[in-house]
Amino acid sequence: MAVLEIDNVSKTFGQGELAVQALKPTSFNVERGELAALLGPSGSGKSTLLLAISLILEPTTGRIVVNGREIYNDGPTGIDERAFRRQNIGFIFQQHNLIPFLTVQENVALVLYLNGAGRRDAARRARELLGYLEIAHRADSLPANLSGGEQQRVAIGRALANEPRLVLADEPTAALDTERGTRVMALLRKIARERDSAVITVTHDHRMIEGFDTVYHLDDGRLTETTRAAAGA
């Protein structure tokens, strides 16, 4: 079952002679348990697509369905964007973006709290998630006291806290060295498999391409190629 359906989605900035089509009509689906990459150079349209899927940027045309709910259909569908994001999408950032004044556990629990969980319940579930990500021993540390790799694992924990069907990762390995980047990729793959989530990663990091199930190549706003890993890889 497709967690994400992109159907003929395009985005044009400006009007008339000044109009720039940042994303040409694009269609693809991402299934549960799939680890997908949007690969392309700067200006290829991958960030535009990520913003559209994140309900931050309204596409000019097309239809986007996330987890069975239509979020755009040639225009907004009246969905509460923030509520939808906090309930259905997990975000992983290039610079981790942990809240610096919250501890590791509080950073993860924050998403649960925003989704209405009680303080104790949120803390317990955050601990469990940190255990799953093998970083429970740093639960009471502040982000500033963690290494880059540890911070990224906490950021992944925060992205998974609301048990989303869709995880969006923006250059998650860009700030890490190859070894740590490989570990993060392995973790994302594990998440996709074990938690049955679709993980879509925006990247231009060719070092990590081999690990993805599907790679969508974008160039000049156009989906130029789709590469799928061999079954069982």
Partner: protein, 397 residues
């Protein structure tokens, strides 16, 4: 999860330093409240605490507090004979600055009829009232004199026989009570050389007017009678007497100005105190404004420092109220903590402040409310900026 408190805990040093700065400003605001009210309380203290129904002063004068008033001493006898007057007493009051206990001190001397006359001190907290016609005095404790202390005023030494509390003139200076003749003696005391010079000048004036030396010598005392004046006559009305009618009678027949206590109060509040009160009011308003502007800048800077975190919060789906609460709570915490520290500072300042500070609970409450509203207003700019921050700011490197 209280994000504001967690941020404060994380940046406690910065927060405490901010509170220290803002609280000092607010402490000045609170003290100025005290000065403002103290100024009014001091200004009308003598009027409110002088047991009299009417103040009789020199004609066409706003005396005896706002303008000098001089009347012949015996004028109180004419006033006493007015229908409806139960008692009339002479009163002398003037400001003096003398060296007491090695320090130059300013005070106001009140001279009154110590044998049953009006105008004496209300409550004596230590010692007794003046019982002798001469050389006894009462002093307010603000002057720092002990019972039995000797104070030289002019050529005589006066014994402190009683001490009052909170007896001050319109400028906040302590009051000293003397018998009427003693007060006049101190007021008109002249240096011997000045007396000799004045006598020589008067003789010369008489001789140049055609008097012989012997005639001039005889006439001389008539020109030297300036010491027998008073500044006001205090009137106690007879039971059932109409104050307006008595005042009109004194005005029409004795050619003096007459004020009730309430009129003297109005003269004081609208005369001497008005400009000072306006200045203090203006300064208070400016200080409150400056405090709010500083708080606004601090809250704004604190918000800008975590703008990426705010963008992240928006991206992961935090509703606006979470962000508004974060900023507003910090602003209010800053305001409340600063006000509490300022209040404590005010209490420390009161005992050592050189002027009377009067605090009205209602005014303190209003100041608190203004500061609290100011704290909310101070956070508006930061809230506006935070709510306009695009969530995509959290994306990218």
């Amino acid at each position: 999860m209280d994000l504001a408190l967690k941020d404060i805990r994380r940046h406690l040093g910065k927060f405490v330093a901010t509170i220290a700065g803002v609280s000092m400003l607010l402490a000045i605001v609170l003290v100025m409240n005290g000065i403002y009210q103290g100024n009014i309380a001091d200004g009308v203290w003598l009027i409110d605490n002088t047991a009299t129904d009417l103040w009789v002063v020199e004609r066409d004068r706003g005396g005896p507090f706002n303008e000098p008033s001089r009347m012949p001493r015996d004028s109180y006898k004419s006033v006493a004979a007015t229908p409806g007057v139960a008692r009339a007493s002479p009163l002398v009051l003037y400001t003096a600055q003398r060296e007491i206990d090695g320090a130059s001190q300013q005070f106001t001397i009140i001279g009154y009829d110590v044998f049953g006359g009006l105008g004496g001190p209300g409550r004596i907290v230590r010692g007794r009232a003046i019982e002798a016609a001469h050389y006894e005095m009462l002093a307010d404790e603000k002057l720092g004199l002990a019972l039995g202390a000797k104070v030289t005023l002019g050529t005589h030494a006066y014994s402190v026989v009683g001490v009052t509390h909170g007896a001050v003139d319109a400028g906040g200076n302590p009051l000293v009570y003397l018998s009427l003749p003693d007060a006049q003696a101190v007021q008109f005391q002249k240096d011997n050389r000045a007396l000799v010079a004045a006598r020589a000048a008067n003789l010369k004036r008489l001789e140049s007017a055609g008097y012989t030396a012997a005639q001039a010598e005889r006439l001389l005392p008539l020109l030297s009678a300036e010491g027998d004046t008073i500044n006001a006559v205090l009137v106690r009305l007879a039971p059932g007497a109409d104050a307006g009618a008595v005042a009109a009678h004194i005005r029409d027949w004795l050619y003096f100005n007459v004020y009730t206590g309430a009129q003297e109060r109005t003269l004081m509040l609208e005369g001497r105190l008005r400009k000072m009160s306006a200045v203090l009011g203006l300064f208070r308003a400016l200080l409150v404004l400056v405090s709010i502007v500083i708080m606004a800048l601090i809250v704004y800077v604190l918000t800008i420092e975590k703008i990426r975190s705010i963008a992240t919060l928006k991206l992961i789906g935090a509703p606006n109220w979470v962000i508004v609460r974060l900023i507003l709570e910090q602003s209010l915490s800053l305001t409340l903590a600063s006000f509490a520290v300022a209040y404590g500072l005010r209490e420390l300042i009161v005992p050592v402040f050189p002027r009377t500070l009067t605090f009205l609970p209602g005014e303190t409450a209003i100041t608190f409310a203004v500061i609290l509203v100011g704290g909310v207003i101070a956070s508006l700019m930061a809230i506006w900026h935070a709510l306009r921050t695009p969530p995509q700011l959290a994306l990218g490197g």
